[in-house]
Amino acid sequence: MSSEPPIVCEGVGYDYPDGTRANQGIDLVLARGELFCLLGPNGAGKTTLIRQITTELRPTSGRIRVAGRDAHADPVATKRRLGVIPQSASLFEGLSVENHLRLFGPLKHLSREQTRERLAFVLRECELEPLRTKRVRTLSGGQRRKVLVALALLADPEILILDEPSVGLDPVARRALWSTIEGQRAAGKTILLTTHYMDEAERLADRIGFIGEGRMTRVGTLKSLYAQLGKSVRVTELDAGDGSPLASHFFDELAQAQRFVRERGLETYAVGRVSLEDIYLRLMGRGLSAPDPS
């Protein structure tokens, strides 16, 4: 195992042939055993970065090292270190769950014996045992996601790259997925996760990176990100008619917020703790901006 960090991106960028810039100057270092969550709006460059790290897309600038080696020098060797759930991947409809895992074992360079052992483990880990003989075409969306997770875990990779793994899952399935991801982190895996769900990032991430318009705009732990915002309480003015949010205001403490409500004579409002979503909206320039009164 290399002593270098599992994933190192240095000044990574990608320009499409027509000149469109997908991402630029991205620096990112993931520590061993860390769960790093990448947040950003659609089209911000999250999947581009993921595809660059998984060697599908060669950066037009900068370099990427995976497990201490140039990721793009030998893509097959790089992929042997990774367990990936691509955003748009789908399964082979005619195969059973068990056959998927059995047939992908050799593709992930496992021997027959290793495949048998790992198959039993991932079926248990992903709660797929009752579905092992079911064909994929009979599975629900959540169950298919579990099979994709099982495939990513099959070769016991040291790094997991999960591109929006919980999209489209119901709350129960999401929590089951979170539990599997937490189990993998506890086992020492390094995990890079993209998501649009703030609660998912808050629950799982050791560190969070915000990506917008192809640039990494902010990176930090949840605590440090809250500290950067500098406020802890949010008051959201609500429309008296339909209850939709009109503006948000941030304060250091609850007493300031209460004074603000009194002075403004607000009748319909909500008070809450500052959340990751507030930070996200502020960073992406889409916050319900209003002059900060404090």
């Binding site: 599908e56 789908s90 047939l103």
Partner: protein, 244 residues
């Protein structure tokens, strides 16, 4: 794992997924030539030469159209329904993935030619010795490679599933009609002859005619089939996007 081992692993995956499609295509590839041959035999009036001519043409159409559809639709499904993303995220080489796909057409060609030779021998229409069977396998190998390369090129070059689907269907029917399989190339208008020369069907048919008649394989047709196989596979391999 070696490149061959990887190719076989991918092929096992395809085989398991497409088993029902394979059965259908193998049946189709055999049933269609048998039907056309039956009509041909009726029309040809019993002349052995005419019967062999019709059978060679029927087998050419069977393996050509079947293989083209098999490889073309399999690649299109991989590309546009997300299976390629799954395979690409695994440590599989592009060469293994590509070879496995083209192998499907080769396997189908080999199976079809072998079954057809056995049937024709039983009917007394062909009398290939061991050398003839070997020549038939060589012809099937070249034919399958060329057809697989064509199907893969159309599917990897398509901008979306519908466009690819249409291209594969038009190529299968268009080449079947415009290639001199049941007639001499001189029967075609001058303008269509270059297209016919570029069709793998045109060169596969004389190979199979020679195999069925127990004659030496025509070197020109073999070279043309091999050349087309090489060119089509080179083009489609370059079109296949594994790393952008």
């Amino acid at each position: 794992m070696s490149a061959l081992g990887q190719t076989l692993a991918v092929l096992r995956l395809f085989w398991a997924q497409e088993r029902s499609a394979f059965q259908f295509l193998l049946f189709n590839a055999f049933a269609m030539p048998a039907f056309v041959a039956y009509l041909g035999l009726m029309l040809a009036g019993g002349s052995l030469e005419a019967q062999r001519w019709w059978m060679a043409g029927s087998i050419t159409l069977g393996l050509g159209m079947g293989g083209l559809a098999q490889v073309g639709f399999a690649v299109l499904t991989d590309r546009f329904l997300g299976r390629l993303d799954l395979l690409r995220s695994s440590p599989v080489s592009k060469l293994a993935y590509y070879t496995a796909h083209v192998s499907l057409a080769v396997i189908e060609s080999l199976a079809l030619v072998l079954v057809a030779l056995a049937l024709l021998t039983a009917l007394g229409i062909a009398a290939p010795g061991p050398g003839g069977v070997a020549a038939g396998m060589l012809a099937a190998l070249c034919a399958g490679s060329a057809i697989g390369g064509l199907g893969a090129a159309l599917a990897f070059g398509a901008r979306d599933f519908d466009a690819g689907n249409t291209a594969v269907a038009i190529a299968a029917i268009g080449f079947a009609v415009a290639s001199p399989v049941f007639y001499e190339i001189t029967a075609l208008p001058w303008a269509l002859r270059p297209v016919a020369w570029l069709s793998p069907f045109t060169h596969i048919a004389p190979l199979l005619r020679a195999v069925i008649a127990g004659a030496p394989i025509p070197g020109g047709a073999l070279a043309a089939t091999l050349g087309l196989a090489l060119a089509l596979n080179t083009i489609s391999y370059r079109l296949a996007r594994w790393q952008e």
